[in-house]
């Protein structure tokens, strides 16, 4: 489970540009929930994920992971249990290494990074099978440096890499935003499959309302650092894209956008 308790987060505290992203924000995500998060630009979605992962510190409040208070645990230690795909496709892979090397690194997560050779030739076939599931023809580009691939291709590899070993939590920040519609559908299906197969607790930020409604068993809509819609399970199943869109429009109008 993931919990944010009374979390407050300000940017640029004390200066004229001070922004309050969260004020006493609360969120409770149970084990095996697959939460899709929607919300307008700047509503605090990425900030929320950064707080959970420890990329940024909270000003007040506590963060819990698996019932442990991790407010002061550094980011890299939290990553033992968390897999993450960033909004920025450049963050998930190492550009000067090829696909196989990147995947081998990911597969070695939570093991010792010792003085044994990294790439095991016997694993390459397995990596290629995984790449095939992306349907991007990447299995034939294994020895190309990842830096020479498109943003979408990198993002797809980043998803594979983040879930290569057994983790408990998966954090996805608009991971299909850089993809063309067809590839996005493929990756979304794959995401769903991985979350179910590995019994992950997942948070997926997306601007695609169809994905948000179709996938996952809970939906959050955020606005201005607050949760304005929170539907689960049965209620979520009956939710339609139009309902979410209506609510979204209403909020936008209320705020004068």
């Amino acid at each position: 489970m993931i919990e944010l308790r009374n979390v407050s987060k300000y940017y640029n505290t004390g200066s004229v540009t001070e922004t309050c992203v969260f004020n006493k924000f609360n969120l409770n995500i149970d084990k095996n929930e697959f939460v899709s998060v929607v919300g307008s630009n700047g509503s605090g979605k990425t900030t929320m994920l950064n707080i959970i992962c420890g990329s940024i510190k909270v000003d007040r409040g506590d963060v819990f992971l698996d019932n442990k208070n991790i407010t002061n645990v550094p980011e890299y230690k939290r990553m033992v249990k968390i897999g993450r795909v960033f909004q920025n496709p450049a963050f998930g892979t190492c550009p000067s290494l090829n696909i196989i090397e990147n995947m081998a690194l990911a597969e070695n997560k939570n093991k010792s990074f010792d003085l044994k050779p990294l790439v095991d030739k016997n694993r390459v076939e397995k990596y290629k099978t995984m790449l095939k599931s992306l349907n991007l023809g990447l299995e034939d580009k294994c020895d190309i440096n990842v830096g020479a691939l498109s943003g979408g291709q990198r993002q797809a590899i980043a998803l594979l890499m983040s879930t290569m070993i057994d983790i408990k939590f998966l954090i996805l920040d608009e991971h299909t935003a850089a993809l063309d519609p067809k590839t996005a559908d493929v990756i979304m299906e794959l995401t769903d499959k991985i979350v179910k197969e590995k019994n992950l607790t997942a948070i997926m930020v997306t601007h695609n309302l169809r994905y948000a409604v179709e996938y996952g068993n809970r939906l959050l809509m955020m606005h201005d650092g607050q949760i304005v819609i929170d539907v689960k399970n049965e209620e979520k199943k009956n939710l339609k894209v139009e309902d979410v869109l209506d609510k979204f429009t209403t909020i936008s109008i209320e705020c004068g956008n």
Partner: protein, 305 residues
């Protein structure tokens, strides 16, 4: 002047050519070891590490003292490497744990080490003539002195290169390569990126001190000022090497750095043969690096345009 006279005037006898070539090889190979270290900081970690200007003389001073104490020559190389690595760790800790900027952390350690090097050697210039060095080992005795020196250097450089190549293919080595490329990935792998940087700085300064040690074996003395400009020279070597590696796909980065070091030294020799004197050396090294950097940025601009 007719052609023959011209040749005699500008060109030199075969013996002289061999003399110049062996000199270029000798200096180039010696600095290539330091350049392999700087390749790690400058190219892999993207860290402008000034520490090397003092870890090089650290290797020199330690070696001078150890040779005087009759420590086996090979052992002095190893001890220098370890001492250099420790210094790298200190720079790393200052940068990573105390949040001091990369350039400044190196400068702080470099400045402090100046005094420490004087303390180790006891003075600013310490000769160790008449002590057996790695170049006096009973190998390759069939060769003349300068050829033997070059062969021994070649063996050492080859060992360094093979070890570094191997390391960069290990799990730890790949982690080091990722930290310079994309820190976020290292964090995502649940590894502390700071520690990885410290390891990189340690290995790099180990190599540089190792090169300093070889330098003392070759020259037969410790000299406090010998380290000034190590970074400039090594960075030049690395940049030339990277240009070579870009053009010739089949050679590895480390080989390219070694070739770059020799080419660079050849440029210095040419500059010296034009009538510049040894006291102009720092001026030449600085100018050469400037020329290399400007040429690189012009090329880049042309590509964009």
């Amino acid at each position: 002047m007719d052609a023959i006279e011209l040749l005699k005037f500008y060109f030199i006898t075969p013996q002289e050519i061999i003399g110049i070539l062996t000199g270029v090889l000798r200096e180039g190979l010696m600095y290539s070891v330091a350049s392999l270290g700087v390749y790690i900081t400058y190219k892999i970690l993207d860290f402008p590490d000034m520490t090397v200007d003092s870890s090089f003389p650290l290797g020199m001073s330690i070696t001078a003292i150890l040779l005087i104490l009759d420590v086996p020559p090979i052992l002095t190389l190893c001890i220098s490497f370890i001492a250099g690595a420790l210094v790298g760790v200190i720079t790393g800790i200052i940068h990573v744990k105390f949040g001091v900027r990369d350039l400044l952390s190196g400068i702080i350690v470099m400045t402090a080490l100046y005094s420490i090097n004087l303390r180790i050697a006891g003075r600013s210039n310490l000769p160790v003539f008449k002590k057996p060095t790695i170049f006096h080992l009973e190998y390759f005795n069939f060769l003349d002195r300068s050829m033997k020196t070059i062969l021994i250097l070649l063996v050492i450089v080859a060992i360094c290169k093979i070890l570094l190549d191997y390391y960069l293919k290990t799990k730890n080595g790949y982690l080091l390569r990722s930290v310079g490329d994309n820190e976020k990935l290292v964090t995502a792998l649940a590894k502390d990126k700071g520690n990885v940087k410290i390891i990189g700085l340690a290995i790099a300064n180990g190599f540089v001190a190792f090169a300093g040690s070889i330098f003392t074996h070759d020259r037969g003395f410790f000299e406090i000022s010998a380290g000034t400009g190590t970074l400039v020279i090594a960075v030049s070597n690395v940049i030339i090497g990277m240009q070579i590696a870009k053009r010739i796909k089949c050679i590895s980065d480390t080989t390219a750095v070694i070739i770059g070091s020799i080419l660079y030294r050849a440029c210095i020799s040419i500059a010296l043969s034009w009538g510049l004197e040894p006291r102009d050396l720092k001026l030449i090294t600085a100018s050469l690096l400037l020329i290399i950097l400007v040429m690189n940025s012009i090329k880049r601009k042309n590509k964009v345009a």
